[in-house]
């Protein structure tokens, strides 16, 4: 019996005690001496020019230290490339306080710095700024005919594959066909913690930057390039993050402004944004999609056509993979995919949980439901008839894919057989009942990442990597991986993250942290293991003499022979006998490209939903959701389940509540606060459950893990939309499904 096998076991968060007691310190909470406060002033107009900043009026208030604006910001780096962060899209990045031009509403146009938070806020509220307004365009409807194909997108973006087969003719000649437009508006990430940075001035242009970010390394690169700082003088730290969902992939203007003020004033500065200002940067773009599907008499797909048009800013070409999934989720010989952008006077959209796929899977999966209904086939049966055994976009087999089991196991557990296929056929009192399903696909990616491990003579192991834990459970799963790899008790292992003094890791995004940093942690612990074995073999009368690393295992605080577990050495004794005080090493893990090149690597899911719709009021209650997820090996069923549960809540939100409403007259988001930007509350959530269909996959990475941060969101909004159709007979194609759309 071994007790140090932690991988795959439900494990409580190791950072839990810190989080539930308030001991976990977030970026804007670090107490540094002699700190000033900065407050951001946002543009009230969408486009135009600042003609005058009346800074002198507020500088006269005792305690106000400085007003930074384009009028007085010193010459910083000149070239665009200095402002390009590691995940920037194509185009010319926005430079805060760089010029008099206003490019979007709520653009940061000044920073007021004062001795106290209250003073800075007050002074910013009375700061007068004169503008010259210009006509703006914020409505994508006006740009329907001005879509263009993006050039080079951000890394990870793939232009849609060229058409295959004869999609137009096949659609025309199909036995049944449908074509519809699907729409959702802009959505904002709105993590609970607002963006903010505490910059500690350590004298002589040396800074410690506590910043809310999904990638400390990205922020460090960005800041050093712009402000001409050396990396040693610009340490960036973020150990806890109050939610990200993609909003913290790119450095925010809050950290730029805090660093600017700190360097100019030569003292520590904190800048936090307001909830309103959380609507002043990236968002999931307003997207218009057109889908055409056709079926053959046997219920196989004759043609798939999917076109998307979404907004971007005037200065950057934000791209996400919206339509590509439609060429790989189902088997079809005739496929045409199109993808275009339209420029508006808004800030650049930004990756938001399952960017592109959340959008694309909504359209495709509602269309699939419509197609199944038109062809008179059960929606699950329809998907199984069109099951893709290989990725036709890439012409490669999947490294693993148990989506079929998600359909079968999910349907059985949900009770899909209780569904009467006829819409409006099921009810409970005055509520119409509907069952709907949908699903999706997401990338399984591994990036290069590094980690360092130190084993000390007291048997304690410290592992670190400059990655993040935005609520995903990184601390916990890395601790599990390290403990199991070296056979140490969980309590003996500490994992640290979020500090640029640690080995480099990529931004936390794309669901790749478990695979990337996990592989690095495993490999650095294996390296420690090899060193340990060598030392163990030098011990007097060592039972491990002559054993190769493959012949031993690290379990229960011991190194022992696999064949003969009684021949063992206690790990703590090894270091003590050797006289070494510690063993230390660092290493990085890179994807095995040779192995991966021949495969398509993805996670999949199938979502089953029950809704009840009040017949008179049109209110939709999501009474049950079951999300069946195939995402490789699940490292920690407890935290992984929470991620998928969170995605279900996000899907309910996307389907029924979430939308940032633009008033085009002002070019301004009008519901920019938590009371008018609706997200679910406790009372909105009923019976939600997760089913993991585990996969074995030695292609994706050495751990066989695919990541679960995003896959769970896919298909949820579509399944709810399909369930609402089944309940009411009304097909809604623009989200969110407000009650007026059902009356």
């Amino acid at each position: 019996m071994s007790t140090t096998n932690y991988i795959g076991k439900p494990t409580s968060r190791v950072d839990g005690p810190a989080k539930v007691t308030g001991a976990a310190t977030y970026a804007a909470e670090f107490h540094v001496p002699n700190m000033a406060y900065g407050w951001v002033v946002s543009s009230p107009i969408a486009k135009g020019r600042i003609t005058k900043v009346h800074a002198d009026e507020v500088l006269a208030i005792p305690g106000v230290l400085e007003v930074f604006s384009h009028e007085n910001v010193p010459g910083l780096a000149w070239f665009d490339r200095n402002y390009k962060d590691d995940v920037a899209p194509g185009g010319s990045p926005f430079r805060p306080l760089h010029e008099d031009k206003i490019k979007f509403n709520q653009q940061p146009i000044a920073l007021v710095v004062a001795e106290t938070l209250e003073l800075a806020r007050y002074a910013s509220s009375v700061l007068r700024i004169d503008y010259e307004e210009e006509a703006h365009e914020t409505d994508i409807e006006a740009k329907r005919d001005e879509g263009f194909e993006p050039g080079r997108g951000k890394s990870g973006w793939m232009p849609p594959p060229p058409p295959r087969g004869n999609p137009d003719q096949a659609w025309e000649e199909a036995e049944h066909h449908i074509e519809h437009e699907y729409v959702h508006g802009a959505q904002h990430h709105n993590p609970m913690e607002m963006y903010g940075a505490t910059v500690e001035w350590r004298g002589d242009k040396k800074l410690t930057v506590y910043d809310k970010t999904q990638g400390v390394v990205n922020v460090q690169n960005y800041l050093t390039k712009i402000f001409g700082l050396s990396k040693d003088d610009c340490r960036v730290i973020n150990q806890y993050m109050g939610g990200g969902f993609g909003s913290g992939l790119r450095p925010q203007y809050s950290v730029f402004l805090a660093v600017l003020a700190s360097l100019e004033l030569k003292r520590s500065v904190r800048v936090t944004l307001t909830r309103q200002q959380m609507f002043s940067f990236g968002h999931r773009p307003h997207t218009l999609q057109y889908v055409k599907l056709g079926t053959n008499p046997d219920g196989t797909l004759a043609a798939i056509q999917h076109h998307a048009l979404h907004e971007t800013s005037q200065f950057e070409e934000y791209t996400e993979n919206v339509v590509n999934w439609s060429g790989m989720l189902y088997q079809c010989e005739n496929v045409k995919l199109g993808y275009q952008l339209a420029k508006l006077d808004v800030f650049t959209p930004q990756d938001m949980r399952a960017p592109g796929a959340a959008t694309g899977s909504f359209a495709l999966e509602v269309a699939m439901d419509e197609m199944a209904a038109a062809a008179g086939i059960d929606p699950i049966d329809f998907r199984i008839r069109n099951y893709a055994e290989e990725d036709q976009n890439a012409g490669k087999p999947f490294s693993s894919k148990r989506l079929r089991d998600c359909y079968h196991q999910g349907a059985a557990k949900f009770g899909w057989d209780q569904r009467n296929p006829q819409p409006r056929s099921m009810r409970k009192g005055n509520r119409l009942v509907g069952y709907g399903m949908a699903g999706g696909v997401w990338d399984a990616t591994q990036k290069k990442a590094a980690a360092k491990a130190t084993l000390t003579a007291d048997g304690k192991l410290l592992v670190s990597s400059a990655t993040a834990d935005i609520g995903t459970g990184t601390y916990t799963i890395m601790t599990q991986i390290a403990a199991e790899t070296l056979g140490l008790p969980l309590e003996a292992v500490t994992f640290k993250l979020g500090d640029t003094d640690m080995p480099e890791a990529p931004v936390q995004g794309g669901s790749w942290t478990a695979a990337s940093v996990g592989s690095a942690v495993k490999s650095v612990c294996e390296a420690i293991g090899e060193k340990l074995l060598k030392l163990a073999q030098k011990m007097e009368g060592s039972p491990l003499k002559g054993a190769s690393i493959d012949e031993v295992e690290f379990v229960n605080g011991q190194i022992r022979l696999r064949q003969d577990p009684d021949n063992a050495v206690v790990i703590r004794d090894v270091l003590q006998a050797s006289g070494e005080t510690k063993l230390e090493t660092d290493t990085s893990a890179t994807p095995n490209l040779l192995k991966q090149a021949t495969h398509s690597m993805h996670s999949h899911n199938a979502v089953f939903v029950e809704v009840e719709v009040d017949e008179e009021f049109g209110t939709v209650h999501v009474t049950r959701v079951l999300n069946a997820v195939a995402a490789g090996r699940i490292l920690n069923p407890k935290t992984a389940r929470s991620q998928v549960l969170g995605s279900i809540v996000w899907g309910i939100s996307m389907a029924l509540m979430e939308e940032t409403v633009m008033d085009h007259q002002f070019g301004r988001y009008m519901n920019h606060n938590y009371s008018e930007y609706h997200i679910p509350v406790q009372a909105d959530i009923n019976d939600i459950e997760v089913l993991f269909v585990e996969e074995e996959d030695d292609v994706v990475n050495p751990l066989g893990v695919k990541g679960v941060g995003e896959i769970g969101l896919l298909g949820v909004a579509a399944a709810i939309t399909n369930a609402v159709y089944h309940a009411t007979g009304k097909r809604v194609r623009d989200l969110p499904i407000y009650l007026d759309k059902l009356l």
Partner: protein
């Protein structure tokens, strides 16, 4: 009580300077604190920026999210909607006062056991709110708890875990009181 401090409310170049700061005495987690703050400093900002008790979180500053929930004389309030100066004679309890990492409060333990959070940023507010709910003594069924915990947003969507955690503690309390 606010006492006038020496700086006067001078007119500054056409812009009125804000009212002066004053001394405010607060009892937080049983400890006395004397603060020199503006009369319009919220209880939330007083806690976070002046007492450095940052366990109480700011999610909106407008009474819309519940992240800033603390207990005042055992009653849950949104500390962002209340001025510090209004609480001089009150007993203020924050998340730091409920329990510590070495000595967790039952709600804190239940939140860990049920994985009732991800990022943890709404968590102190959820826990204080749950304690306030228990103090109110009115929520017993799941439906009631859901309704009365709906002033605390969780963007990570940890609601299922939160409900189970709160329910567990509510149930254990009511079985205690029945004994």
């Amino acid at each position: 009580m606010i006492q006038q401090s020496s700086t006067s409310a001078a007119q500054a170049g056409g812009v009125a300077a804000p009212p002066p700061t004053g001394t405010v005495r607060l009892t937080i987690n049983g400890q006395q604190h004397t603060l020199q703050i503006a009369p319009w400093t919220t209880l939330l900002d007083a806690l976070r920026e002046y007492v450095h008790l940052t366990g109480t979180k700011k999610g909106c500053d407008h009474g819309q999210c519940g992240a800033c929930t603390v207990l005042v004389n055992g009653k849950r309030i949104n500390s962002c909607l209340s001025l510090a100066v209004m609480h001089e004679d009150h007993d203020i309890t924050t998340i730091e006062g409920l329990g510590s990492q070495e000595n967790l409060h039952p709600l804190q333990q239940a939140f860990i056991d049920h994985d009732a959070f991800q990022c943890g940023y709404c968590t102190p507010g959820q826990i204080c709110s749950a304690q306030g709910l228990i103090n109110e003594g009115r929520a017993h069924t799941e439906e009631e708890i859901k309704e009365h915990m709906s002033g605390n947003l969780c963007r990570c969507g940890a609601y299922a875990g939160i409900l189970n955690a709160v329910k567990e503690v509510v149930d254990s309390k009511s079985s205690e009181s029945r004994r």
